[in-house]
Symmetry: C2
Subunit: 343 residues, 2 copies
C-alpha cells in the first residue's frame, strides 16, 4: 500500500499512526494503531474520530493486515471486528463493506489494497467537492455557528463543515465562527477552537447552552454541521446537541445546513428512527478528562444519560451539502439522496 | 439581630457565614462574609448564589454593619457597594432598597434590623407559597427538566423550582428530574445533582445539549426553572441556557414554567430588553475550576463569550409560578405581575 497522510492519520509504508485526538490540543502524540485490536480501541476511545476518518482508518487497517498476510479465512472476522467498533457513523460500515466484497472467492490482496487507496484519496476529493458546493451558500460577513469538529482532523481531507468555512474564507469572504464547546467530550472547545486558530479564522468559543442567545443577538447567519449517518428521508445523526441547534435555528429563521460525503448516506436506512445511537460511559458526563487534566464534579454514582448522537429530522434542515451537489427539501422528497450515491 | 439559618447561610448572632457554593459538593466549607467587601466578593465569585439568597445575604450584611455601629453617613455607600455586586438578579437591588428607605433622616438601627429579619423570614415563606402553588401543576409520573440550581442552596427557604419538585414528591407524586449540568459553572452537575440525591428524588444528569433528545424521547413532561429578574411584560432573565430550553419546550409542546418570588419582579422594567446581562470571565468557558480540581482545555487566549444569563420572552412561557398565585399569559397581559407585588 502506498504511503498515506492526512492531518491526523498516517500510513508510513509499514505502520499506521493516528494523532491521538483525546490529547489534542495540549499534546501531539502519534500512536501506532496498525493492529486491528488497537484500531478498534482507538476508535472507541475517540483517539481517532470523525465519521469519514474512522471509515478510512479502519479500511487502511484491514488492508494492511491483508498485505501482511492475514489468511483469507480470517479476513471476514477482522473486518467485522473493525466494522463494529462504533455503531452510529455509517462511513465505517460503508468503508469496510467495500473491502468485504473481496471476501471468500474474490479474495485478492492487490485489489484490496487498491480499493483502500481509493477510499483514502476519494475522501480527500469528497471533502474538496463539499467545500466547493457549500462555499456558495456562505455570504460575506456571515456569522457561522458550528458544533463538534468537522475539519482536517475528522476526515482525510479538509473536512466537511469546517472545509466549507475554510474555503469561504480563502475565497475572500469575511467569516466569524461561533464554536460550540460540544460537551461532554469537548470536540469544539478543544479541537475546533484550536483549528480555527491554526487556520486564522476569527472565532468565538461558547458553551453549548449559549447558542440560543448568540442567535437572538443576531450574530449567527448560518448553522453548518457535519453528520454521521443520513437516512434516505433526509433525517441525519450527528453529535449530540445538533438536534437542539436545528430547533433553535428554525425558531430564529436561520438556515441550517448539514454537510457530508455520500459515504455518510445509508441507503438501508429509510428514516432517522432506524439509526442506532451509541450510549457512552456515564463518567464522561460526570466530569472531564484529557491531556488537560481530569475533573469529576458530579456525585460519583450520579445517574446519567450519555447519548453520543442525536437525530435531526429532515424538516429542520434547509439544505444537505453533499459532494455531488446541494440538495434542498424538494430534492430529498424526490429521492435526491439515492441519486447522490455512485451507481 | 436574631440568629438566622438556612441551608447555605447563617448568622450566628455575631458573624455571617455562607457555605461556599464554589466548593460544593466536594467540600463543605463555611466562610465568614460579615465584612461587606467579603460579601461583595463572595457574591461575585458565586460562593453565595441564587437570586433570592443574594438579596437576603446582602441585606443581613448591611444590617449587621448598622448594628455594629456603621455611621449614618456611610450607610448609603455600603448599601450601594452591596447593591452593585452583580447586575442581573433584581432581588439584590430590591432587598437593599428596602433598607435604603432608612437612609438619611429615617436612619434607625432597630428598624433596619427588624426589616432585615423580615426579609429573611419572608423569603422562607415565599418559597413555601411558590412550592404550594407550583405543586398543583405537577402530575404524578412527570419527568421534569430543570436548569441551574434553585433549591435550598439558592434561597433562604426550600427554593423555587426545586421547592416545587420537592413538594410534589412529598405529596406522593412520582417524579423524575432531568438535571441540566449548566455550563460553565456547573450548578446543575454539582449542586442540583447533589441536592436531588440528598432529597432522594430520582434524577438523571445530562449535558445541556442533551435536553432536546430527552424531550424527543418523551421523557420530559414539564420544564421548570427559576429566575433572576421578571419584567412586567413577563420576559425574564435566568441562567444562560434557559432561553434555549424554552424554545425546545415550545417546539416539543411541553409546558414551560418559571418560578420565583415577587421580589424577582422588577416594576421598573417594562420588557426583557431592559435587563442588564452580566458577562463573566472567559476562563470560565475555557475550562472548569472548583474544589473538584481545575482543567483548561481550550487554547489559552481563545476568544470567548460568557453571558451568565439570557432572557426568555414571555411568549415562550406557559405560566409564571409566583408566591401569590400562578399567572397565565392572559394574566400577564392584564397587568398580573404588578398585582402580585405587595402594596
Amino acid at each position: 500500500m502506498r504511503k498515506l497522510e492526512s492531518r491526523s492519520f498516517r500510513f508510513d509504508g509499514d505502520k499506521i499512526w493516528i494523532l491521538d485526538q483525546k490529547l489534542l490540543p495540549q499534546e501531539k502524540q502519534w500512536i501506532d494503531v496498525t493492529d486491528p485490536a488497537a484500531m478498534v480501541l482507538a476508535i472507541q476511545k475517540l483517539q481517532v474520530r470523525g465519521a469519514p476518518l474512522i471509515g478510512v482508518a479502519a479500511a487502511v487497517c484491514l488492508a494492511r493486515q491483508v498485505e501482511k498476510g492475514l489468511p483469507e479465512k480470517d479476513f471476514r472476522k477482522t473486518a467485522e471486528l473493525l466494522r463494529e467498533a462504533r455503531p452510529t457513523a455509517v462511513n465505517l460500515m460503508v468503508a469496510i463493506d467495500r473491502l468485504l466484497q473481496f471476501a471468500d472467492r474474490k479474495f485478492n490482496m492487490r485489489q484490496i489494497v487498491e480499493a483502500t487507496e481509493r477510499i483514502f484519496s476519494e475522501d480527500v476529493e469528497l471533502c474538496e467537492k463539499i467545500a466547493r458546493n457549500g462555499e456558495e451558500l456562505v455570504a460575506d460577513g456571515d456569522g457561522i455557528l458550528t458544533h463538534c469538529n468537522t475539519g482536517g482532523l475528522a476526515t482525510a481531507g479538509v473536512g466537511t463543515a469546517i472545509g466549507i468555512i475554510q474555503r469561504a474564507q480563502q475565497n475572500g469572504k469575511k467569516i466569524h465562527v461561533y464554536v460550540d464547546e460540544t460537551r461532554p467530550l469537548l470536540q469544539g472547545g478543544r479541537l475546533t477552537a484550536w483549528e480555527m486558530k491554526e487556520l486564522n479564522i476569527p472565532h468565538t468559543l461558547i458553551c453549548d447552552n449559549m447558542a440560543a442567545i448568540m442567535m437572538r443577538e443576531g450574530r449567527v447567519q448560518k448553522v453548518i454541521v457535519g453528520c454521521d449517518r443520513i437516512a434516505l428521508n433526509g433525517d441525519f445523526a450527528n453529535k449530540v446537541g445538533t438536534y437542539g441547534l436545528a430547533i433553535l435555528a428554525h425558531y430564529h429563521k436561520i438556515p441550517f445546513y448539514v454537510a457530508g460525503p455520500y459515504t455518510t448516506i445509508d441507503p438501508n436506512c429509510q428514516s432517522g428512527a432506524e439509526i442506532p445511537i451509541e450510549e457512552r460511559k456515564p463518567e464522561e458526563v460526570r466530569g472531564v478528562s484529557g491531556a488537560f487534566g481530569e475533573a469529576l464534579w458530579a456525585p460519583v454514582e450520579c445517574p446519567v444519560r450519555n447519548p453520543a448522537f442525536d437525530v435531526t429530522p429532515a424538516d429542520l434542515v434547509s439544505a444537505w451539502i453533499l459532494d455531488k451537489q446541494v440538495l434542498y427539501p424538494e430534492d430529498i422528497k424526490s429521492g435526491g439522496l439515492l441519486a447522490c450515491m455512485p451507481l
